[in-house]
C-alpha cells in the first residue's frame, strides 16, 4: 500500500525553521513539516523530543522521513538510536535542494526512492567555479 509521507526537519539551532522559511518561498505550502530546533532552549531534551515524535506518528497511515543537518552531529546520532525501534527513514546532511526535491515528489516514499534521491548529483555540494558548463545547446532547439 502506498502511504503519504510526513517530514520532520531536525537541526542544531534555528536551521530547521530557516529551511522551512526557504521552502515556503520556493515550494509554497509546507504546513505539514514539523521542525526540531535543537539546543535553542536550556531545557532541550533530545530523547524526549524524539520519543514524542515517534509516539505521535501514525506509522500505519504515513511514512515518516526525518531529515537532520549533519552526519555525526548529536541530533542525527539521537535519531539513529531509534532506528531499531521505529520504521522511519533517516536522512542527514540535508540541504535545501534535497528538501525541495523531496517535497515535490508526490506519492510513495520508500527506501529505494530515498536511496536514489540522496545520490542525485543535483543535491550534492558543489564548487561552482569548477563547474564548466557546455552551453552548446542553449542557442538552438
Amino acid at each position: 500500500m502506498e502511504k503519504e509521507k510526513k517530514v520532520v526537519i531536525a537541526t542544531h539551532g534555528e536551521l530547521a525553521k530557516g529551511l522551512v522559511s526557504a521552502l515556503k518561498i520556493i515550494v509554497g505550502d509546507v504546513a505539514d513539516i514539523q521542525t526540531v530546533c535543537g539546543y535553542t532552549t536550556p531545557d532541550f531534551d533530545l530523547d524526549q523530543t524524539i520519543q514524542s515524535i515517534m509516539n505521535q506518528h501514525d506509522f500505519n497511515q504515513y511514512e515518516l522521513v526525518v531529515c537532520t543537518d549533519m552526519m555525526g552531529g548529536s541530533v542525527n546520532n539521537g535519531f539513529v538510536k531509534y532506528l531499531g525501534q521505529y520504521p522511519f527513514h533517516l536522512v542527514t546532511n540535508t540541504n535545501l535542494a534535497f528538501l525541495v526535491d523531496l517535497l515535490l515528489t508526490p506519492g510513495c516514499i520508500n527506501a529505494q526512492v530515498l536511496t536514489s534521491k540522496v545520490s542525485d548529483d543535483l543535491v550534492s555540494v558543489k564548487y561552482v567555479n569548477g563547474v564548466v558548463n557546455s552551453m552548446d545547446d542553449l542557442d538552438d532547439l
Binding site: I25, I26, L138, D139, L141
Partner: protein, 156 residues
C-alpha cells in the same frame, strides 16, 4: 505544446526550475530575454539552474520569433519564461497566440506601483502590459502553483 508562459525577473530560479517545471511536467524551458541571451555569465548561471531532464534555450526576442514555427512542431511540454514585460510585449506583438501570460515576479523599482504581492509596474511596464492585453493575451499574477491567482486589470 506550450504549457505556460511567464514573466519573471529572476528568469530560471528555484520557483521556476523546481516547482513550476514540476507542476507543468515541462520538458523544455525557453527563456526569451535580450539581455540574458547576450550575457555569457547569465547564460552559465541559467544553465546551472536547469532542472534535471529538462532542456533549456535562451533566445533573444528576434531569435525566438524566428524559431516559433519549429517550436510549434516539438512534441514536448514547453515553458516559456520572459525576464521583462518589454521583451514579452515585443514577442507577443510578433506572435499574438498566447491565451494568457503569468506575471510571476516583476521587481520593485523607482516609480513603480504595486499590482500584486510580487508584481510592481512602472509606466513603461504598464504600457507593455496594456499592449499585451490588446493583443488578446490575458495577464494573471501568481507566484506558485499553490498560491492565489489574480487577473491583472487596469482602471483606465
Amino acid at each position: 505544446m506550450i504549457k505556460a508562459v511567464r514573466v519573471d525577473h529572476r528568469l530560471v530560479h528555484g520557483q521556476v526550475a523546481f516547482t513550476w517545471t514540476h507542476f507543468l511536467a515541462a520538458t523544455r524551458i525557453i527563456v526569451i530575454d535580450d539581455k540574458a541571451a547576450t550575457d555569457e555569465f547569465q547564460k552559465m548561471a541559467l544553465n546551472m539552474s536547469k532542472p534535471a531532464g529538462c532542456k533549456l534555450n535562451i533566445f533573444t526576442v528576434e531569435k525566438a520569433l524566428s524559431k516559433m514555427a519549429k517550436v510549434e512542431t516539438l512534441n514536448e511540454n514547453i515553458f516559456i519564461v520572459f525576464g521583462c514585460t518589454r521583451d514579452a510585449a515585443r514577442f507577443i506583438e510578433g506572435y499574438p497566440k498566447f491565451k494568457e501570460i503569468n506575471y510571476g515576479g516583476i521587481a520593485k523599482k523607482e516609480g513603480s506601483k504595486s499590482y500584486g504581492e510580487v508584481v510592481y509596474l512602472n509606466d513603461e511596464e504598464v504600457a507593455d502590459s496594456k499592449k499585451i492585453m490588446s493583443l488578446g493575451t490575458k495577464i494573471f499574477m501568481q507566484q506558485l502553483p499553490t498560491t492565489k491567482r489574480e487577473e491583472l486589470r487596469f482602471a483606465d
